[in-house]
Symmetry: D2
Subunit: 318 residues, 4 copies
C-alpha cells in the first residue's frame, strides 16, 4: 500500500478576488492554515476546487501558486478533470511539469461510453504520465459509477494508485474496501464524504477528502487520528460536531448545487477571515444577504468565531 | 420516543412451496429462529417479504400465519405497500383487523405526483387506521426520496411513528437522525441497510431492518447490543463478518434485482435447512445450479454449515 | 394484423362525485360522447383512467359501468395494472369475466428485475387469460423501457396482440413500427401521445390512445381518417389545433404530474358540462380557483364553449 | 427570424488518420460532398464532431481546415462545448477569430447548478463574443433539459439566435416551436434527430442537424425541400429510407454510445470511400471485423455501394 496518501487530504477551495481573479494571498493563507492543522496532503483542482470552471491558464496558475505555498510540506494531488482522455492527459502533463506528487482523474464524461472506454481511459493516462494516478469516482458529476472490480483490477495492474470516492454509495464503498484488503491493498481508498466519514473509517477507508475541511480541519485531523487508534467514541463525537457545521450548505435559500455547497464554504471562510471575498466563478453567483447571515448563524452555533460581519462579506464581491 | 420498535427488526422473507403456495411450516420455523436469536420485532410484507408479488389473499394469509406464529413474543409490523392511498388504506385495515402492532407504507408510486400528494397520503392513512405508522423510504422502488423535513413535521404532528430508511443515502440519514434528536425524537428511525449498519448506528439510528438477518440474525443482535453499550469495536467486527456474508447477493450470474437479492436469501435459507425450497414468486425464477453453489461457497467461507447440498436445493423447486 | 384495435382509442378518464364515488352518470355521458365522435375503441383503467388509485372494488365498478354503457358499440380494452404478475392476472380474470375485449398490462414494477422477468410476466398473463393482450410501455411510471426486439418476439409468439406506447421515445417508436412491418405486422402499435400523434402516424402507428381525446375527440378522429387517406396536410392542421388545446395541462401553477394532467382533463370536462365535478382521487387535490380559470381560458382560445363557470367548477368538489 | 441558418445543417464528423491525427484530406472530401449535396450550412465540433475528445489545438486545427474547405459556400457553425462559462468563452473567441458564422454552446455541465446559472451562462457568452449563439439542448450529455420558456426569453432578449434540439423530447419540441411562432419567431429551431425528422418538420422545425447526413445527405436535402413545399408524402418516404439506413448504429455488438453511433458513421464513410479510415479518438475503439461487416450489409440493403471491403476498413486503423 502506498502510505504517502493516507489520512486527511482536503480538496482545497480556490479563492477569487471580487473581479474573479485568483486571490493568491487568501489561497496561501488557507493552505498554511490547513497544513498547520495537520493535514496529510492537499488536493487541488478537485470539483470543489472549481476545476470545471477554470481555464487552462487559471489551472496552471492555481497549481503553481499551490505548489509554491505548500513547499513540500505535504504531498500535493492535482485534479486533471476533463471530458475525454487526450484532454485529461494534457492537464496531467502540466501537473507533472509543475511538480504535482499525484494526479486525480474521473471517468470520461459528456460523450456516452461504456466500461471498455473507462478502462482504456485510465490505462492511457497512466501510460502518458509517470505519476501516481487516483480514480475520482463522482457519479453526480460524471454520471457513471466506477465498478469495484474494475478499480481493483487497475490497482493490481499498477495503473491506479488509489480511489477518491465521492459516489455517496456506502455499500459499494465497504465492498471496495473489503476487496482491496483481500487483493493485498493495491489501492489507497479515500472517501470524499463529510458527514459520514465515521462510517467510511469503520468500513476501512485509508483517509478522507472532506470539502468542509476548508472551513474547519482540526476536527477531521482529530477524527482520523482517533480512527487510527481505534478510539471510535472520539471518531463519532468529532463527526457529530462536523455534521452540525455542515449545515452551512443546507440553510440557504434559492441556491443549489455548487453555488450552495462551495458557495457556503467560501462564505464561511470569508466570515472567518481566511478568504477576502466569497466570490464565485462564472456563471455562479456568490451567496449574499440573508444567505450569508444564515451561514454566519451556523458558524456561531458551532462555536466558531467570525471576524467579519455578514454585511462585509456580502459587500466583498461588489 | 416510541421504545416499542427500537432494535433489530428483520424484514421477514416469505417461503414458498415448489408450487408457489405459502409454506407455512418453513415460515413458522424461520419466525421462531428469529425470535430465538433475540430480535426486537418482525416486519412482514416488506419489499423482501415479497409484498409486491402477493395478491390480497396471499397477503392476508401471510399476516395471519405470522401473527399466530409470533404469538405476541415481539411486536409485529406489517407492510401495506400499494400504488396509491385508498389501496394502501385497504391493506392497513386488514392488517389492523388481523392484529398488527404497526403498519409500514411507502409514498405513492406509479402515478406521478409531488410532495403535497405524499403528505396528504400519509395523513389520510393515519386518519383511516389507528395504528403506529412508519414511512418506508425506498427510492429504488418508489422513485422518490422522502425529504427529512417532511418526515420530522409528520412525526411532530403525530402522523408518523417512525421511518424505515432504505434510501441508501447515508448523508440524508445522518441529517434525519440529527433533526429528529433536535425535535425531541418524535420518530423511531430504522435503517434498512445490511453492510453499513455500523455507520447508521454511529449516525444515531434507533435500530435496523436487515434483510440478511433472515440468514444470520445473531450477529445483528450482537451488533445492536454493542452499539447500545457504546462498544464500537464489537459493532465493527460484527458488521465486517456480516458484510462478508452479504456477498451471497453478488456472487451469482445472470440474475438481478429481487431475483438476485431475495433469491440469494432464500437459497441460503434452503441450504441451511430453514426453508424447504428456494422458490420465488412469479415472474422471478429461483436460483439454480452454479448460482446455488456460489451461495453455498460463501456460507461455508463465513463459517455457516449448510445441511443440504446445492443439488438438493436446485431440485427443491421442481 | 388485428384490425379490431386500430384507430382512435381514448384512455377514458374516470369521473368522481364530490365525495369520491364513481359518478356513473357523467361516466356514461362521456362514453356516449366519445362513441358519437367516432372512436374505434375505448380503453378503461389506463393511467389516466386512475387505475393506480382505484381499489379492486372500484375497478370492478368501473368495468361494469363501462361495458354496460358501451354496449358492444366499440371494442373495450381494460387496463390490468399492478405491481407483479399474480396481481395482474387477478385483474385480468375479472376483466375477462366482465366482458372486456382486450387487456392491457405494463411490465412489473416496484420490485427490481430484468428482461427475463418482463418476458415471463407477459407470457404468464397470456397463459392465464384468453384475451388479446397489449403491452403498455410507460417508463415514466414503470421505470423500464420495453425493448423493441422483445415486443416483436412476443408478438410473433402470439403472446402480445399489440403495444400501447407511452414511452415518449419517438426514435424507438419508429424502429418498432419498422420492425413490426418487416415481421409481418404481428403487433397493433398504438401511440399514447397527444401532441405529436402526426409524427407517430408518419412513423407507421396503427392508431392512438390520446388522453386529451376525453376533452375533444372529433379532432383525433379527423386526424386518423386523414392519416389513413394520406392527407398529411389535414393531419398536421388537426394536430396543431389539438396541441394548442393540450396547453390546459401546462397553464396551471403549483400542481404536477397526475394532478396537473388528468386534473386539467377533468376540469375541462367539468367546464364543458361532460363531468359534474373535477374531483380527483386520494391523495390528489382537484384544480381550483385560478387554475380552473386558466383551463377555462385555454378552452375559449381554442374555440370550445364552457357551459359552466370556473367558480361553479371550483365549488363542484365542495 | 434569422434565415441564414434554416434547412439542413449536418454536424460534420471528424476523420482521423490511423495514428489519430486529423485527416485533412478526408475532411475536405467529406465537406465538399456535403456542400455538393445541397446543405444549407455545416456544423463543426458538435458532439458527433468529437468536440469532447479534441484538445484545444485539435479544435483549432479542425476549425481552420473546415473554414478553408468551406470557403464561404455555406454558413459555418462551430461548437464551443466545455464544462463552464469561461472555458466556453475561450473556445468561442477562437471560433470568432478563425471566421465562424455562428457558435453553438450547451448548458454548463459537470458541476451541479440550476436555471439561474444556465441563464447567466448564455448571457455571458453572448456578451463576450459577437456572433449568433445557438443553445445546444442535449440532456443525454449535459444532464439537464433546457426549458422552452427560458429559450424563448433568451431569444426575445437577443441572447440566442436559435436552438439545436437533441433532447429527444418531441412533445417539448412541438411546444417550443409553437411558443417560438407566437413570440414572433425569435429563434431558429433545428432538430438534431435523424429518424423522426418528418415529425419535427410537421411540428414546425426550421431545419435539421442530422448526424446520419454525413453518410447520406441527399435524402435529407430532398426531405427538407419537400417539407418546405408541403409535400408530406415525399417527406415521409425520404424519412423511411433514412431510418432504414440509420440501422448502421444498431446492428453492431459489444459497443455503445459514441463508439456505436459515430463509430458506425465513420465506418460507413470509410466503406463508401469518403474517409480513409474509421479511426476513433481515445479512449474509443474503432469498429472492427464483424461489426464492420454488419454496417456494410446495411449500406448494401439501402442501395449504397461500398467501394472498399469490410476487411480493408478493419485494417485501415492498424
Amino acid at each position: 500500500m502506498n502510505q504517502q496518501f493516507r489520512g486527511v487530504i482536503p480538496p482545497v477551495v480556490t479563492p477569487l478576488t471580487a473581479d474573479q481573479k485568483l486571490d493568491r494571498e487568501s489561497f496561501t493563507r488557507s493552505i498554511n492554515r490547513l497544513i498547520d492543522a495537520g493535514v496529510d496532503g492537499l488536493f487541488f483542482l478537485g470539483s470543489s476546487g472549481e476545476v470545471a470552471f477554470s481555464t487552462d491558464e487559471r489551472r496552471r496558475e492555481i497549481i503553481e501558486t499551490a505548489i509554491a505555498a505548500v513547499d513540500h510540506r505535504v504531498p500535493v494531488l492535482v485534479g486533471c478533470i476533463d471530458t475525454e482522455t487526450n484532454r485529461v492527459i494534457e492537464h496531467a502533463k502540466v501537473a507533472h511539469e509543475l511538480g504535482a506528487d499525484a494526479i486525480v482523474a474521473t471517468a470520461p464524461f459528456y460523450a456516452l461510453g461504456g466500461l471498455p472506454e473507462i478502462e482504456r481511459h485510465f490505462r492511457l493516462i497512466h501510460e502518458a504520465v509517470d505519476l501516481p494516478l487516483f480514480a475520482y469516482d463522482i457519479p453526480v458529476c460524471v454520471h457513471v459509477k466506477l465498478p469495484g472490480d474494475l478499480l481493483i483490477k487497475l490497482g493490481l495492474d499498477g495503473v491506479l494508485a488509489g480511489v477518491k470516492d465521492s459516489s455517496n454509495d456506502d455499500v459499494a464503498f465497504r465492498f471496495l474496501c473489503d476487496d482491496n484488503r483481500k487483493a493485498g491493498h493495491p489501492l489507497t481508498v479515500l472517501t470524499g464524504q463529510e458527514v459520514v466519514v465515521d462510517g467510511a473509517y469503520m468500513a476501512g477507508a485509508d483517509g478522507s477528502v472532506p470539502g468542509l475541511g476548508n472551513v474547519e480541519c482540526t476536527g477531521y485531523v482529530r477524527m482520523w487520528k482517533a480512527a487510527e487508534a481505534g478510539d471510535w467514541k472520539t471518531v463519532r463525537e468529532e463527526q457529530d460536531k462536523l455534521a452540525a457545521l455542515m449545515r452551512i450548505v443546507t440553510v440557504t435559500n434559492g441556491v443549489s448545487g455548487f453555488g450552495a455547497g462551495v458557495g457556503a464554504f467560501k462564505t464561511a471562510m470569508a466570515l472567518l477571515g481566511i478568504f477576502d471575498t466569497n466570490q464565485m466563478p462564472n456563471p455562479v453567483a456568490p451567496l449574499q444577504g440573508a444567505n450569508v447571515e444564515a451561514v454566519d448563524a451556523v458558524l456561531r452555533e458551532c462555536g466558531l468565531t467570525p471576524v467579519r460581519t455578514p454585511e462585509e462579506v456580502t459587500l466583498s464581491t461588489q
